[in-house]
């Protein structure tokens, strides 16, 4: 079958389970927001997204109780996404600015910064509560 090498392969693939992950729903709903509202109301179920790989770098988390205010993360941040707050000696991280490099995680002497699994960060307001970590 060297003339049409793809034929056996595609015929084999027709029997396999498709690899596409149908997120968030099997087919495009009439209205995405309507669908999400339905999901919130428990009337519809969302198809789960692809399982996250280990060491996934999602939205940053910050434990302000452990933080010693050393400003190392502010210095190391290549995107200048971290702001130091002198009055509380803590930091504020702007997630829209963050490039998810996790260098601050590595440099933090008390490991109060972590990358979470959360990645659904779309928002209309870049200063919304969800996108500023304090």
């Amino acid at each position: 079958m060297s003339i049409v090498p793809a034929f056996p392969e595609v015929l084999r693939q027709i029997l396999k389970k498709p690899v596409t992950n149908l997120f968030p729903a099997r087919y495009l709903p009439k209205s995405i927001t309507g669908f999400l509202n339905k999901v919130a109301a428990g009337e519809a179920t969302i198809n789960p997204p692809v399982a996250l790989p280990p060491n996934f770098r999602g939205k940053i988390t910050y434990d302000r109780d452990i933080c010693i205010g050393c400003k190392l993360c502010v210095r190391v941040c290549p995107a200048h996404a971290i702001e130091f707050l002198p009055e509380t000696k803590t930091v504020r991280i702007f997630v829209t600015q963050c490039i998810f490099c996790a260098q601050c995680n590595d440099v933090c002497p008390v490991t109060c910064l972590h990358m979470s699994d959360e990645f659904m960060l779309a928002d209309t307001n870049r200063y919304s509560e969800n996108l500023i970590v304090e």
Partner: protein
Amino acid sequence: MIPMITAAVLGCIGIAVYGMFFGLVLQGVDRKWAARMQARYGPPLHQPFIDIAKLLCKDNIIPKNAVKSVFNAAPVIALAASITILLYLPIGSIMPVLGGWGDIILVIYLLTVPGLAMVAGGLASGSPYATVGSQREMVTMIAYELPLAIAVVAIAWRLNAAGVADPFSLVTLAQTPVWGLVGIPGIIGLLLLMLAIAWVTPAELSRVPCDTPEAETELCGGLLVEYSGKNLALFSLSGAVKMVAMATLTVVLFLPWNLTWFIPLTGAVGIVADLAFFVLKVLLVVFFSVSLIRVGMARFRINHLVTFYWGYITLIGFTGMILLVLDAVLGMGVVA
């Protein structure tokens, strides 16, 4: 005379609706199959309907330097011609509406009309891309007509040699499976002809690997580059109807069996059973000669396309024809 005309008119309307509906369903099934072969889920089955509905809602944009009359007439002619083909083709055990007025030679000629309309529309749209596409479409048509004609003529000749009256009539073809009339060389010949027809189908429908005239990546859609809105919807519908016509033609030529020939069913039940069986056969044809070929291959370059059809497919067709002739000459199978 009057009831006959009424029946014909009603039949035409019915066939038009059936052709468009079934064609779009076939396209949906084809997209689903293609998706599965590429390990995707694919769009919902009714996606072609959504697409057509969307196109029908949109405005027609006519380019400034287009020949307006031809540009607008081409899609209508293409769709009308595609539906006309269906009027001559039997559907399951339902005999063609205009079966008494035309034969398979007429069908072959009619099959070129949508293509010619597309060529005219492309040349009239005043775009260099469309012009190149039209020229390619003409070359493609020249390339695939010969194997198609060979297959049809060979089968009709063999039927004639077996003493079947009126071998070119579609009613005859649909009621006499040629497989039962031939010996071993004839069966090999018929298999070869079937292979040739299976390869002619994608060329006839301008699907991959023979979508050289449209060639999205090089010609931005070629023939159809300037078409939009309702005109494009008519062209898509014509393509869908043509898919039904080509698949039905293959079924009539090579798989004409009906369920009622084997299981004694009468009346409406028999007709429905035959229709279901017919749909199954059409789906089989579409799977092999549209979906599989289009997923498994890349687009031909125009010179490859001509070499492929004039060289290899015609050769396969000729071999099949010679085997059928030998079959009759050597007296194998049924000879009158």
